[in-house]
Symmetry: C3
Subunit: 283 residues, 3 copies
Amino acid sequence: MPITRLRSLLYAPANRPDLTAKMARFGPDAAILDLEDGTPGDEKISARTMAAQAATDLRPRFSGSIWLRVNAPRDDLIDGDINVVSNGPFDGIVVPKIERVDDVERIERLLNAAASNAVGVMWGFETVLGIRDCHRILEASTRAAAAFFGAEDYIADLGGRRTPSSLETLYPRSKVAAACRLRGIVAVDQVVLAINNPEGFRRDALEGLALGYRGKNCIHPSQVPICADVYSPTEQEVDRARRLLTAYENAVATGRGTANFEGQMIDLPLVTQARTILSLAGE
Amino acid sequence: MPITRLRSLLYAPANRPDLTAKMARFGPDAAILDLEDGTPGDEKISARTMAAQAATDLRPRFSGSIWLRVNAPRDDLIDGDINVVSNGPFDGIVVPKIERVDDVERIERLLNAAASNAVGVMWGFETVLGIRDCHRILEASTRAAAAFFGAEDYIADLGGRRTPSSLETLYPRSKVAAACRLRGIVAVDQVVLAINNPEGFRRDALEGLALGYRGKNCIHPSQVPICADVYSPTEQEVDRARRLLTAYENAVATGRGTANFEGQMIDLPLVTQARTILSLAGE
Amino acid sequence: MPITRLRSLLYAPANRPDLTAKMARFGPDAAILDLEDGTPGDEKISARTMAAQAATDLRPRFSGSIWLRVNAPRDDLIDGDINVVSNGPFDGIVVPKIERVDDVERIERLLNAAASNAVGVMWGFETVLGIRDCHRILEASTRAAAAFFGAEDYIADLGGRRTPSSLETLYPRSKVAAACRLRGIVAVDQVVLAINNPEGFRRDALEGLALGYRGKNCIHPSQVPICADVYSPTEQEVDRARRLLTAYENAVATGRGTANFEGQMIDLPLVTQARTILSLAGE
């Protein structure tokens, strides 16, 4: 499976073999072995070996991509963290809290020494500085495969508050998705902390989809199937896309440049959207 | 009528004389003869002569401005499209999907060779790249008379989804209006595709007005009168503006710098807004 | 009390001793003597002496900070306005409608001649140009202590409309708060003009808090206690600020120039932000 299929990203602390061993059964598109927030400070060194072992154990049983989340770019731990990718079948590393072009360059130099070019980077934009400069950070990256927007850390850094409306994240969330589009990489959306609210998660995922996100960080296995549902086209969408394309092709065949379809004027963007739906559905 | 009066912009495919002949009767502020999305690929060359003819036919019967929508800046067709303006009474050209400063410069050089300086340009910001760089694109343009935000193409380019809330367009829509204000040109707002929903159209137009838009692209004649209504001040607004200015002038005359008007503190921005309303009403 | 405690800012026209004399009793964090919009044109010169006198009268009875709002950067009045700070116990000046880096530099030169470095500047971002360039304007300022977002002037400058949803201000309001965070200064939020709607004021204040604002311009004394309620930091924030400062002080004590705090590099703006939290909490 390509590492750019990233509808759902499930995290497990690298120092918890009981949790990492279970990741495959939940069927996320990406399994992320976490050396950052999920692993306590006094286990961060020993967790490295465990992360490589967990990736090796997971590989034969898991069709998704396997990632290593390292510590932040200016943390002393990052150099050693990056070397872990040479000890296991990792498809990529997740680098949180990227803020500066020099850090991108330094991290990619370290990665060049440790891994083949097939190992991608997912950059985490989750600080005010990182998001202000996200366009040039992504332009400077040669290994970028994806990037995510981290709402919780962003709002903490800003000194704001998370609210149910998420309006406080609309500006940075919109900007990161646009920067991903310009770099041609997958945009991965903010987490939803309330794990007992599947409807809230779905609503948030749909908002992200509207903004250009194509996947979502998950903090609980129950969120994975909702992502598969939201970020894959529905049968109804597929049907509608087929009918819309038929109406458009009929209009073109009869020399008309415009056509009316179920109360909507069909123009080229709608046609493009319909074709995207069909390709997501595997057609 | 000045070409900057652009409350409603009505489009018709240039290859459809049956439709272009009817444009005047719908009374838009601008009639746009379309060589781009509205005209099928195999008629795009022959439609040029038809566009010039349609403009010539329309001119004596139409008090609004007449525009030619050309193909996108990197389409091979654009050079020939631009020459059409020398064959008919066009007030301006609409250039869709502008993204790069070099394209602005190239298109304006072509236009300088084909038309007088009185022919203006309306730039279409409808891609992620174009909107990221909209400020410097408008600064580079010497003929800019207006610009529009194209939500459908923008969201298709982003890989997002249009939703009833339009929150997915708030960031780019806000940014384009601000760039127009700094360039001193008219901002024209996104289309509404649902042609059987006048209330939805009105709500969207009012949201655009709040964001600084002064007109709207229309895809159906029924949308034109709604634009005239939304983008012209109401009698109630005119009355209220007059009363507010009277209250303010009384406060100034009696040495008070502040005044309370119907539960609101009057300050200078409110006074400016009131004066704008009166000038839009022709006072 | 530090001048960065700015939960509520109450304005009074400098030429109205009947109003300035009452400011202390309403208990705002900042009392602002206004030479700009609140003072009519023909009293703007005589109001200067009155502003200095009002500050002198207020000082012994008022524990908050005292500010002078001067006229706009390109107004002929500003040079004389700035000199007023040397005639009274002012903690800072409020400069409305800042738009250009040269104006920042000129105003700070004037202020260097008139006042000690303890006198801070609060910049008002309330025009489309100022908000486009707010990041570099704040970077250019050496005396910045705070900045505010002025929604009414911004929307008037844009030619838009204020609406109850405030969605029309979400983009500039988000951007100004982010720029303040990067400069390490307090972000002060938009006014609410409807003075008979405390619930509307509270809702707007909470929206601002979510976006990173730490205080609000008030146009009526009844708004002051709502600000104190909304903008006082939580116990969790106070704890986090204390831990961050401890980590920073440990780093400094052990000769390290940088320190890592919960995965983020501590930089000076973060330290300033933590100190602001403690000062907002009254420590």
